[in-house]
């Protein structure tokens, strides 16, 4: 499944005389007669899996374009405070129900008397229109993006760290550890993600856990992380079960290495490409699940915004101001799409045969 570890620990990077264009090969000086091009010292340079993957990725222009798009979205969201203070001149949570804004030279209520928020003005104020409280949608869109991306990133970090740990422990020790951890993973796995996430989310949003308040962003991030741990833990476990029977693990054991050292220095490096494939995928699914939870009221809590809460708020006005939900929706879809395309590119580059799946 995973590229053979021809040099599991750095040895793979030994590349002799590779020309910059990547077309490294046998250098034949003109006039020289070469009987056997594969003679001593003329072997084609060895290319490690990572370098090979980077080379494949460099040829994948679609993935690169979507990577740029994703980075642009991230930068735009990070610059949200700047946009709020210098262009829109309004804070993300400032209500302005009674205010007015000029659209094409005419002054219009931000929120009409019967409660309908204004649509896009494409001016500095209310560029994408307002929400039902007269808050600037463009500002909230960027702040909401920060929230969504941050939750996605924290959840992904939780999944990667604990999923890898669970997979390593259950795969390597088997026995008692496996008997305790594996049913736990199976339990989470066979639970519908949405129902478990929503139950946890509603419950924790009400009470918080310990010092963390109910409306903290860490609660959805934590829930999403926990819910998706088995999706990484299961494939990692399978791979560890295979790796622990390999000769190099045996050799390490014979040398007298302890279990932990074998896990960290022999097995973990061989899991790197599998984990790398999972990072963008888990990020995409975490962002999507956050939107689901927020839609059902079990994710990000007011007054904080995320793309999920914005879409959810906007759906109430879909007949009068469809842009209110469609613009955050488009942002969410673009972001998840770009992560998915980049993730596909990385997977194809690292391991064209890998098969991984996630449910929402």
């Amino acid at each position: 499944m995973i590229p053979e570890p021809d040099g599991a620990r750095g040895g793979s990077e030994v590349v002799a005389g590779a020309s910059p264009g990547g077309t490294a090969g046998i250098v034949i000086t003109p006039g020289e007669r070469v009987a056997d091009p594969w003679a001593e010292g003329r072997h084609p340079p060895a290319i490690g899996p990572w370098r090979l993957a980077a080379r494949r990725l460099r040829r994948n222009y679609v993935a690169q374009a979507f990577l740029v798009l994703f980075l642009l979205i991230v930068v735009a969201c990070l610059l949200a405070p700047l946009y709020a203070s210098d262009i829109a001149h309004i804070s993300p949570n400032a209500n302005n129900i009674t205010g007015t804004v000029s659209v094409a030279g005419k002054m219009v209520d931000v929120v009409s008397p019967d409660g309908v928020p204004v649509g896009p003005t494409f001016g500095s104020h209310y560029f994408f229109g307002a929400d039902s409280n007269g808050r600037d949608l463009a500002v909230r869109l960027l702040y909401g993006g920060r929230t969504s991306l941050l939750i996605g990133a924290i959840a992904t970090a939780i999944i990667i760290v604990f999923g890898t740990l669970a997979g390593l422990l259950t795969g390597y020790f088997r026995g008692v550890v496996d008997m305790i951890l594996r049913p736990l993973m199976e339990l989470i796995w066979s639970f519908p993600v949405v129902i478990l996430g929503v139950a946890l989310g509603t419950a924790l949003a009400l009470g918080g856990i310990g010092p963390i308040k109910g409306n903290s962003l860490f609660i959805p991030a934590f829930i999403i992380g926990v819910v998706y741990i088995p999706y990484l833990g299961k494939p990692i476990r399978g791979e560890v079960l295979r790796l622990r029977e390999q000769d190099f693990t045996e050799a390490a054991r014979v040398q007298g290495m302890g279990s932990w050292r074998i896990m960290l220095s022999e097995i973990l490096p061989n899991l790197a490409s599998l984990i790398t494939v999972f990072v963008p995928m888990m990020l995409a699914y975490s962002i999507l699940l956050e939107a689901y939870l927020s839609f059902l009221g079990a994710g990000v809590q007011a007054p904080n915004a995320s793309w999920g809460t914005l879409i959810s708020d906007g759906l109430n006005y879909i007949q009068t101001t469809p842009t209110f939900s469609l613009i955050p929706g488009a942002m969410l879809v673009l972001t998840v799409l770009s992560i998915n395309v980049v993730g596909d590119g990385i997977r194809d580059a690292l391991d064209p045969r890998a098969q991984v799946r996630v449910r929402t």
Partner: protein
């Protein structure tokens, strides 16, 4: 086969037990959660709350509460805290709606995924392959609730091609039943078509280089026979397991978002309302209901797997 059945039954009971404990525990550890106050109503005095608490047994130890609740569930007497309706009969009443939503949607997504995945794999690298894979990756990037809302807005409000929302019983008017459910079916199927066709395509492409395909060709089968009987049949195996789990969770109420957006009175909508009200009995019963289907379809997909692949024996 007997051993298989026994082991499956044991794991089923274990999973149901674990599910109920987990859900019960989630709501037990919330510090500010007090169901007695919800039942007693808005203007209840502390005495009334205490009375309600005593009547429903909230003042008893946790494990006694758990045992009492389980007894009520299995004798069909458990009621929800908000409307005092019988939870078991509510779910039984709403289940046909969820079945009408999920079963046709599952058939659509399975057929769609097999057709699109096969076309894509047969024309690998071609224009139709690329187009389909772009569509598939777009399909898995759209959250279901957004797709449902956009479909509703475009085809029901703007174009008026389809009715708004609501549910017509199959027995009363089959044509209206289908007419009302087209948009919900599509909104559930799109994500899964995207997902399954991607998986199927890569399975098919992996399978082409297998020895048995070469053997099938060598013995003179036509391209169509090789593809349908050997390549496709073997590629469907991983999908069987995936399908079992997805189908089971949707039947158990995981379609709550679609049911909420389209206002379909199914199990999922009931769950969504219960979650919004923090009403523990429906959430508990709903989760166990889902777990039941997960176990059931897990066993069924293992049996189908064994039928598709003679090498697999049912040992549990």
């Amino acid at each position: 086969m007997g051993r298989f059945a026994v082991r499956r039954l044991a794991s089923a009971i274990l999973l149901l037990f674990a599910t109920s404990v987990v859900v019960f525990a989630i709501f037990e550890v919330i510090p500010s959660y007090n169901p007695a106050r919800a039942i007693a109503g808005r203007n209840a005095t502390p005495t009334t709350v205490a009375e309600v608490s005593h009547k429903f047994g909230f003042d008893k130890p946790v494990y006694v509460q758990y045992a009492d609740t389980m007894e009520l569930i299995f004798t069909g007497q458990v009621i929800d805290y908000n409307d005092n309706l019988n939870v078991d009969s509510q779910i039984a009443q709403r289940f046909p709606v969820t079945v009408s939503l999920v079963v046709p949607a599952a058939l659509i997504w399975l057929a769609g995924a097999i057709v699109l995945g096969s076309i894509s794999a047969l024309r690998v690298g071609g224009l139709s392959d690329r187009g389909l894979m772009v569509a598939a990756i777009l399909g898995v990037s759209i959250p279901v609730f957004l797709l449902a809302a956009v479909l509703l807005y475009a085809f029901a409000f703007k174009l008026s091609w389809f009715p708004n929302t609501g549910y017509i019983q199959l027995s009363s008017n089959p044509a209206q039943w289908a007419y009302h459910l087209v948009l919900p079916w599509i909104s559930i199927a799109v994500l899964s078509i995207g997902f399954y066709s991607r998986v199927l395509r890569s399975n098919l492409l992996d399978m082409v280089n297998e020895d048995f395909v070469r053997t099938a060709r060598a013995k003179g089968l036509t391209g169509r026979q090789v593809f349908v009987r050997h390549v496709l049949r073997n590629s469907l195996m991983p999908i069987v397991t995936m399908f079992g789990l997805d189908f089971a969770t949707l039947l158990g109420g995981a379609a709550l978002v679609t049911e909420t957006v389209f206002n379909l009175p199914g199990v999922g909508q009931y769950e969504a309302q219960a979650i919004g009200n923090l009403d523990v009995p429906p959430i508990l019963v709903g989760a166990m209901f889902t777990a039941f289907f997960v176990v059931l379809f897990g066993a069924i997909s293992d049996i189908v797997y064994a039928l598709l692949d003679p090498r697999v024996r049912l040992t549990g």
